[in-house]
């Protein structure tokens, strides 16, 4: 088997492509086939410890010398358990088969011998040319050749792939797009493609198309991936590159990491202990048997002679060991795993069904995507939260701006007092027919400035409406819909639109604005796109007046350094405004411009083109080229965008805090923004004793900062006599655990990503952990996705606590995967996070219900279930141990075989399950629903019915050897002693339990009891309504702008160099019907 290093294929050349034996486009997600289902499934099931154990038992029982129970006592439960699991697996797999079949048999138009022929998806081969139509899913990973749209653009929706619902644009290279839909040309197309081997990187593709002797560079903008859906494009043709299992979609559907809960672990440990206990008990009994055999059995041979193979009592004892091993098998709970799965499934369904976690505006109920982690929810100690989109709505609202040193956005009444939002009057935008009616702004002075024709204000808004990568859609005349890469951009362009600088449409070379009602066409010369390092973007346009202008927007820290010295005084004024905005928690952005000299631009443009075409170091060359032109900028102003908190976030955080659940905010955002949000969502409070900031740039500084913080919080933790320090000096082996340390007050910690990179290494990570864990709230900013995961891992490694990570974006995926429990917010940023999460819902506030209600209930139910389950099995089994002392340790059972067979599976399973599905622990009482009653009394009744059936004349006479206890029930229940004994035993068993339950809250109260008492107290003495917590924080803090972490459309927009014959279409570009 040689590994594919490079893919080589030729269009329309089946013979050539068949050399490489590429797979066809069939996908197979199913696991079993009809023939291998039974062996494969059984093999998988017997890998479970308990199942394997019972298989061994079954074999032991077949040995007559030691068989103390008939084979069916083990066989029946084992069969039932195996078949339940097998049926479940079979149904799952059947569904997968069906969906595979459905997908494989979808029709697709295939180019065969110059004609389009309908074929099935699975028959598509590498090198085929296929035609896709509007709203069709993409069949395989194909290279876009041509499409119905101008410039061979093709719009796709990638919701299935990355969950983002905004449209993306792909574009064919010019040489192939010329073929359009001419079938003869397409059939004659014999381009050769060399590209990378199949991989799972969704955003990467590189290859070279060789056609008519020329090489063309291919990147992922030309590749349509399987799983996307064609939108707004009548047709497109594509060359199949990757098929079936090679497609990026299938390559990505790898095995997800399997998370196990601590209960899982506990269960395994328990089962092992039980094994050990079982072995000891069997050994004791075997010894007992040996002694008995010597003392009594030997003499009793007159009535019960020894078997021939038993030469001495020792041999007999060895056999008895195994006999007891069989008898006591009910100690090892065979139905444990199945029951646990059922309970978890039930509790997961409750989460899915919970109306209190349903978010109506987005019509999304909560979703338990993993059904195995429920009880872990109840043990969460640390919550790691993303900020953007999780704590905040990621809805940006253009709130304020400062243009040329003048503040706009605040409204004041006559007395000069700031007016609150509810009293404000919206600005009337009726002068602008293209205004967005949803946009609201309150400061009339800005509109007046626009109407007056203030040069700077106009330039400011012109800049906002030109410098972006937003796409516009105009389905109905005048109804513009913007497709923005980041919500910040959308907010800015929308703001400009409302003030009269409407971005109407764009082509690859022009941007059409409607400026105060007049349509103006700007020539788009270059887009200097955004990326994380540059933190800015610029456009260079040629105005209708034939001036070349560069407009730039970006983070203030970056732009300030690029400004022309002449605007330093303006810059100072603007910086003050920036501080004001920051203190209000607004996201800010600086806008600047520069007029370019024609000659300079031509020269620069030439070098820019060269850099664009270079294959090596393209990125770095481009960015240095960009820097050449982005300098000596003239400051225009600052925008301020409000990042709205999600509903109920502060309240949720307060409650989580009360539940002693610590919240750490891990964000990629700037420190100031993050701190602002932390205050506004109650993670930090003004009353906090101190907030430590760690921002050192080297090991020593960071260590000092961390130690100073700890010295404040708990001075004794730095002494050598501190138990943890002593413990650490002994250099314990991993894994060790750091115990909880309590600080002497309320503290907060802020650490940025740069320092964190150091702090996460070596000895410092323990310092960091100990300091951070003493704080009430921790904020880590400027985090990379990897660092987020590292922080979670750090916590998991040294603190044996359950962690939960909650986030909404692709940058949170790593931490969601790393944490014990990952929660995805199905929010604005797509569903990448959700797809990798264990639980998903759409509002941060539902975390409260998930953890404190569902988590707590699940945990309690699971714990009660385990106790109950082991209790019932132990009581049932250990009777045999007791009885052994009366029957000569001969492995005689107390119960008859059918009772043993049915006990676990039929008689006692439902009450246990019922309790673990319906119990609610908020009150300290047991919670008996109708269903509980039905189950408990039903099981009891069922037991008696079964007994009468099993001991009935008919059955016993039909199989006298199997059912030996004819008439026993009738005769036994006839006796009053029997009934009296039953009553006595029940009462005797209940009395201590009731007594203990009664005394417990008095002498050994747990928090639930205290809460219960407290509730009663509250009911007696009504309290005044709680004081509203202050949400807004007034002290001055800095904030900053943050772009979303994505590349813009820039390259795509400017690369449309192909001129098409259908010029008429040009005008309607980006405004498809």
């Amino acid at each position: 088997m040689n590994i594919e290093h490079e893919r080589y294929l030729q269009a329309n050349n089946k013979e050539f492509n068949s050399i490489f034996v590429y797979p066809n486009n069939t996908i197979k997600t199913s696991k079993y086939s009809v023939f291998n289902f039974l062996p494969l499934n059984l093999f998988e099931q017997f890998q479970r410890l308990a199942n394997a154990y019972f298989l061994i038992l079954l074999f032991l029982q077949l040995i007559p010398q030691i068989s103390s129970l008939t084979w069916y006592t083990t066989m029946t439960p084992l069969m039932v358990v195996l078949s339940i699991t097998a049926v479940k697996d079979a149904i799952d797999d059947l569904k997968r088969h069906q969906s595979d079949d459905r997908v494989n048999n979808l029709p697709v138009l295939l180019l065969v011998n110059g004609k389009m022929k309908e074929d099935k998806w699975m028959n598509v081969q590498v090198g085929d040319i296929i035609k896709l139509e509007n709203n069709q899913p993409v069949t395989a990973d194909i290279l876009l050749l041509s499409s119905s749209e101008p410039y061979s653009l093709t719009y796709i929706e990638t919701a299935d792939l990355d969950g983002e619902t905004n449209l993306k644009v792909k574009q064919a290279i010019s040489v192939t797009s010329d073929m359009e839909d001419h079938l003869e040309l397409l059939s004659a197309f014999n381009g050769e493609v060399r590209c990378e081997a199949p991989n799972n990187k969704l955003d990467r593709f590189s290859g070279i198309l060789t056609y008519k002797g020329k090489n063309y560079f291919l990147d992922h903008d030309k590749l349509l991936l399987r799983g996307c859906i064609i939108r707004n494009t009548d047709w497109c043709y594509g060359l199949v590159i990757y098929t079936g299992p090679d497609t990026k979609l299938m390559q990505n559907s790898g095995k997800s990491t399997f998370k196990r809960t601590q209960i899982d672990h506990l269960m395994n440990v328990l089962v092992l202990w039980i094994f050990l206990g079982l072995g000891i008990i069997c050994f004791v009994l075997a010894v007992g048997h040996g002694i008995w055999q010597n003392k009594k059995g030997y003499h009793f041979q007159i009535f019960l002679p020894w078997e021939k193979y038993v030469s001495s009592s020792a041999v007999s004892a060895i056999l008895i060991f195994w006999s007891y091993f069989i008898i006591l098998n009910t100690m090892v709970p065979i139905s444990l795993y199945v029951s646990v799965e059922i309970i978890r499934l039930g509790n997961s369904l409750y989460i899915n069904w919970d109306r209190k976690m349903f978010y109506a505006p987005r019509n999304t109920p909560a979703q338990a995507r993993t059904t195995t982690l429920n009880e872990e929810l109840g043990q969460v100690k640390y919550v790691f939260s993303d900020k953007t989109g999780t704590l905040t709505q990621n809805i940006m609202i253009f709130n304020k701006c400062s243009i040329n040193g003048k503040l706009y956005g605040d409204t004041y009444d006559k007395d000069g007092q700031r007016v609150t939002v509810s009293e404000k009057e919206k600005v009337d935008f009726s002068y602008n027919k293209l205004a967005d009616p949803k946009f609201s702004f309150y400061d009339k002075t800005l509109v007046e400035a626009v109407k007056k024709g203030d040069h700077w204000v106009h330039l400011f808004f012109r800049s906002l409406s030109l410098c972006h990568t937003v796409m516009s859609e105009e389905k109905v005349e005048g109804m513009l819909v913007y497709q923005a890469q980041s919500p910040d951009e959308g907010a800015l362009v929308t703001a400009a639109r409302n003030f009269g600088f409407v971005f109407r449409s764009r082509t690859s070379e022009t941007v059409i604005l409607v400026e105060m009602g007049k349509t103006r066409v700007y020539q788009l010369l270059t887009i200097l796109d955004f990326n994380n390092v540059r933190k800015r973007m610029s456009v260079i346009v040629r105005t209708p007046e034939d001036r070349i202008m560069l407009f730039c927007k970006g983070a203030d820290t970056i732009i300030c350094e690029l400004l022309h010295p002449s605007c330093s005084s303006l810059c100072d004024v603007t910086m003050e405004h920036l501080d004001d905005y920051a203190s209000e928690g607004l996201r800010t952005l600086m806008v600047a411009y520069r007029e370019l000299d024609e000659a300079f631009f031509q020269d620069w443009s030439k070098r820019h083109n060269e850099a664009c075409l270079s294959l090596e170091n393209r990125e770095s060359r481009l960015s240095s080229i960009y820097e050449e032109v982005e300098k000596d900028l003239m400051l225009l102003g600052v925008t301020a965008i409000e990042d709205k908190l999600q509903d109920g976030v502060p309240e949720t955080i307060i409650i989580l805090n009360k539940a002693k659940i610590r919240l750490w905010v891990l964000t990629g955002d700037k420190q100031e923004t993050a701190v602002n949000i932390a205050y506004s969502c109650n993670l930090f409070e003004d009353e906090m004793d101190e907030v430590f900031i760690v921002e050192g740039r080297d090991d020593e500084t960071i260590r000092k900062e961390l130690r100073t913080a700890r010295n404040k919080m708990k001075p004794e933790s730095l002494l050598d006599s501190d138990p943890i320090n002593i413990y650490l000096t002994t250099k314990p082996k991993l894994p060790f655990e750091i115990p909880e340390e309590v600080a002497n007050g309320n503290y907060g910690l802020i650490i940025n990503g740069y320092s964190l990179a150091y702090a996460l290494e070596g000895n410092l990570e323990l310092e960091l952990l100990r300091t951070a864990c003493m704080c009430k709230g921790v904020i880590c900013c400027r985090m990379t996705p990897l660092q987020k995961a590292q922080v979670v891992e750090l916590m998991k490694r040294y603190k044996k606590v359950v962690t939960l990570a909650i986030g909404d974006g692709a940058n949170d995926v790593s931490m969601i995967k790393a944490a014990h429990i990952g929660v995805g917010i199905s929010g604005q940023e797509g569903v990448q996070a959700m797809l990798n999460s264990d639980f998903a819902f759409s509002q941060f506030q539902y975390l409260q219900r998930l953890l404190l209600v569902h988590g707590r209930w699940s945990y309690n139910r699971m714990c009660k279930f385990l106790s109950y389950f082991f209790y019932k099995n132990f009581t049932f089994t250990l009777v045999h141990f007791w009885y052994a002392f009366f029957n000569g340790f001969s492995a005689q059972t107390v119960y008859e075989t059918w009772f043993i067979t049915c006990y676990n599976l039929v008689y006692t399973s439902l009450p246990v399950l019922g309790m673990s599905l319906f119990d609610q622990i908020v009150l300290k009482t047991t919670y008996w629903t109708m269903i509980s009653h039905v189950i408990i009394w039903g099981s009891l009744g069922f037991y008696f019915c079964m007994s009468f059936l099993l001991y009935s004349d008919g059955l016993c006479l039909a199989f006298p050897d199997v059912f030996q206890f004819l008439g026993v029930v009738r005769n036994a229940l006839n006796q009053p002693q029997m009934l009296l004994s039953i009553i006595l035993s029940v009462v005797l068993c209940m009395l201590p339990v009731i007594g203990y339950q009664f005394l417990k809250p008095l002498f050994w109260p747990i928090s639930v009891d205290k809460v219960f008492d407290r509730i009663q107290e509250c009911r007696r003495l009504p309290r005044q309504s709680p004081v509203r917590t202050k949400l807004k924080h007034s002290s001055t803090r800095r904030s900053a702008y943050a772009f979303s972490h994505k590349h813009g459309f820039g390259a795509l927009i400017t690369s449309g160099q192909t001129m098409k014959s259908r010029m008429s279409k040009k005008n309607t570009l980006f405004s498809k019907r």
Binding site: G297, F300, I302, F303, L304, K308, Y350, W353, D354, R355, K356, Y359, A360, N363, P365, D647, G648, E651, Q848, R849, F886, N887, G888, S890, F918, Q920, V922, L923, T925, Y927, W928, T929, C956, L957, P960, D961, L966, G967, Q975, Q977, L980, L984, V987, L991, I994, G995, F998, L1002, F1003, S1007, K1010, V1011, D1013, R1014, E1017, C1018, R1019, P1022, S1025, P1026
Partner: protein, 430 residues
Amino acid sequence: MIRVRPPFPSPFYPPPLSPPLVPPSSPSSLSPSLWRLQPTYASCPRPLAEECPASSALQRRRLWRWPWWRRRRRRQRRSSGSCQGQPAGPLGGPPASGGAVPRGSMAMNYNAKDEVDGGPPCAPGGTAKTRRPDNTAFKQQRLPAWQPILTAGTVLPIFFIIGLIFIPIGIGIFVTSNNIREIEGNVFMYYGLSNFYQNHRRYVKSRDDSQLNGDSSALLNPSKECEPYRRNEDKPIAPCGAIANSMFNDTLELFLIGNDSYPVPIALKKKGIAWWTDKNVKFRNPPGGDSLEERFKGTTKPVNWLKPVYMLDSDPDNNGFINEDFIVWMRTAALPTFRKLYRLIERKSDLHPTLPAGRYSLNITYNYPVHYFDGRKRMILSTISWMGGKNPFLGIAYIAVGSISFLLGVVLLVINHKYRNSSNTADITI
């Protein structure tokens, strides 16, 4: 499908203040104050239970404090449907006619704030399918429940009542058991064996129930479980197995030594000592021939037996497998010291005691060896009451449990009285 509730007022409990169904954000023709909290809520620490998930169950508790009519409304509100997009109808309008009104009318009472999600529950236009989970008691975990609450008011009475019931029952049982005199009424004669392991596993399974049930193939080919008492001298043993082989075969005879020196034999009844089901259903002689001997043809007697199974008794109704001594023996004892019913001594008349006072002699025909394994034999004579033979245990147990319960009740009462008010809830804030 979106079900839209008809805007009828509740026919049963026209609410004094009817909350509108629209969410707070929507404009409402009603005064906002109408859907604010009702006074009864105000005593709770939180304004609304739904704001705090954990408190949903607390809220259930709170029901107790509500006036009954409000309690009913509350429950109805919970059961109301999935979509509340319709504005409320006229306030307190005339009740519609009884049962014809759909349950949906209860939606009227739906407090808009019950929904956390705030926004309009129905998509505008109502075309999109809502994925809002069903509002059923089961799915929302609000099944009606009985909650046994262990407070002083419930626990202490239980203890006292148990004590008060159990002690008399125990005394009754104890007295009944003790009053059993050995000589009145029908007297039962038992033989007892000690140190005899009839409950040994290999012993217990060493039998063939098919054979004992009269199965002719099992008669001639007994089960392997009977080894080593399966075949003897190439003939199948009937009845096979260790149990049958070790059957107790001493003969006990009881004589009354009266004033005259001739001992008078007491009539011992052999029949009626086994369970009816055993005698008539479980044990059957094999079919075939006229005489019992013929039916057992081809089999041989168990090794230890003196005579074959068809010669156990002269009475054909008590011979072969349905011999009651045999049946009694075949029902193996659970403990190594046991007694088995041997004979019945029936009361002859009401005037004379069954066994009058006097000297008796017991004649034992000694066939059954027990000294090998240090066994003991006993003979017991007893009458039985409605609750079996003389056995003080159950009575004592009842008295003991009853007393303990009563005592515990007293102790708990004292403890409760002493510690009730020292609640330690200071560190709990709600």
